[in-house]
Symmetry: C2
Subunit: 277 residues, 2 copies
């Protein structure tokens, strides 16, 4: 694998752009390929096997394009598909759950941690399992907030109605006396100011996007895959629907022009050259 | 390599115990072997080749005892010997400089970062090199603080004289308008309250011990080497001199009884079974 190959990332839609933003910030020498499954978004309430099938299709698409590292920039897809994609490809595959879990263990002083996410992520108990695998002593409480993703995907972050939904959905977890709250969905960092207001300044929010970009840096580093060439980057974004909306929102969030292309996964005749273990 | 093998750590003296403390906190299921080179401490003003020789002797000692991961818990030894030890052993070897650098890149908002360390660490420019390898856009300023290690090793942290030395040595870097300061020596977290007072609350301090334990967790995780057995741990500490002083200070810092043994590296007839590449 060449160190100047791109990093692949995917998400059910635009939420994973928070991870892209952090890769651009922390690893500005890396080139990325992003896939947003805007046709089938959201994943958060879907059947587990369906999410695994979607993740595999998208993983194959990106791996076929020669990515050196695959980031599942979606908590729901990480919770369901990480170990399957790790076995499927011979490049490193990381999700967003381990980085957020490790950050919570490192940052919590009181050992009382909260997690918010979609229904599938919370039902999978993936954060509590990962945290307890590393450190069984932490108290972990979680809360599904299924209405947060539509707020972000529909660009209604700053409305009063949205603020009321956030306050209502966090009411229960705010009484749990936690000192650390994992934003267990890549969409949620876009709501972080609203969430911080509800939780209060004593609760530190963990942005899994930020932590994931940092772990990508660690893994590329130990595998000698960091791109140290300062050549021009050609970042590329693929979506399964709604090119124009994706481009408009993405360009505003990332503050740069995006090269966005529509892909029909079912009819893409891609060569199957990756190694299936 | 077995996942229930211990993690090896070494330092010129007691400073590396800050990394041990973080491994205990973040990875309580792991067992550790620690070597403190108290006979030859401090390393900070020594010749580079001498430090490489010491690091290799200690690395061999720990690798011969079957550690699954070697942590150079000393900035000076990391700056001089990391790549040499990475080539020498077939287990993963990490230092404290990359984790601190990655944390600074992730945490700094203004992209203006300071580094304090020993003379050798600062002269090596290792932090600026590592930060710029990942992200050339950061401004990095560094300052040698050679008197901080003796303050910690001699247990004079809370004295007025020590506070004056810290204020004097940080006078220059405090005018640099940085928002993030890397404590580029494993001894310095023990002085963090004094350092924070001098730098002011707007400057976030990066404890490389905390960040290194977290990267150890990432690396053990992707290599499937996390210890998930909850059996009793037998942590072991080796020193090259001053067993009683090491035990006294170490037990106070770590809040637990330590099993400390004196080792004569020159006369230890250990089998040389590791693979030299």
């Amino acid at each position: 694998m060449m160190s100047n190959a791109p990093i692949g990332l995917f998400d059910s839609g635009i939420g994973g752009l928070t991870v892209v933003q952090e890769v651009f910030r922390q690893l500005p020498q890396e080139e990325i390929l992003y896939f947003g499954d805007t046709l089938r978004c959201p994943y958060g309430d879907r059947d587990k096997n369906e999410i695994i099938r979607f993740s595999t299709e998208i993983g194959d698409f990106l791996v076929n394009r020669g990515v050196k590292l695959l980031i599942i920039a979606c908590n729901t897809a990480t919770a369901t598909s990480l170990s399957i994609l790790q076995q499927r490809y011979d490049i490193p595959v990381i999700g967003v759950i381990s980085p957020g879990s490790r950050a919570a263990i490192s940052m919590s002083k009181t050992m009382r941690v909260g997690v918010i996410g979609t229904r599938v992520t919370v039902a999978s108990d993936a954060y509590a399992k990962e945290i307890h695998r590393l450190n069984p002593k932490l108290y972990v409480v979680s809360q599904a907030c299924p209405e947060f993703v539509p707020i972000v995907e529909n660009d209604r972050i700053e409305t009063e109605a949205s603020k009321r939904i956030v306050a209502r959905d966090l009411a229960s977890i705010s009484t749990e006396n936690i000192d650390t709250l994992i934003l267990g969905c890549t969409h949620y960092p876009l709501l972080k100011h609203v969430i911080q207001d509800v939780m209060g300044s004593r609760v530190q929010l963990i942005n899994s996007a930020e932590e994931t970009a940092r772990e990508a840096s660690t893994i590329l580093s130990i595998k000698n895959l960091l791109n140290e060439r300062r050549s021009e980057k050609r970042h590329k974004f693929f979506v399964s629907a709604n090119v124009d909306t994706f481009r408009m929102i993405g360009e505003r969030w990332l503050g740069r022009k995006l090269d966005v292309e529509l892909v029909d996964l079912f009819n893409s005749n891609q060569p199957r050259t990756f190694r299936v273990i």
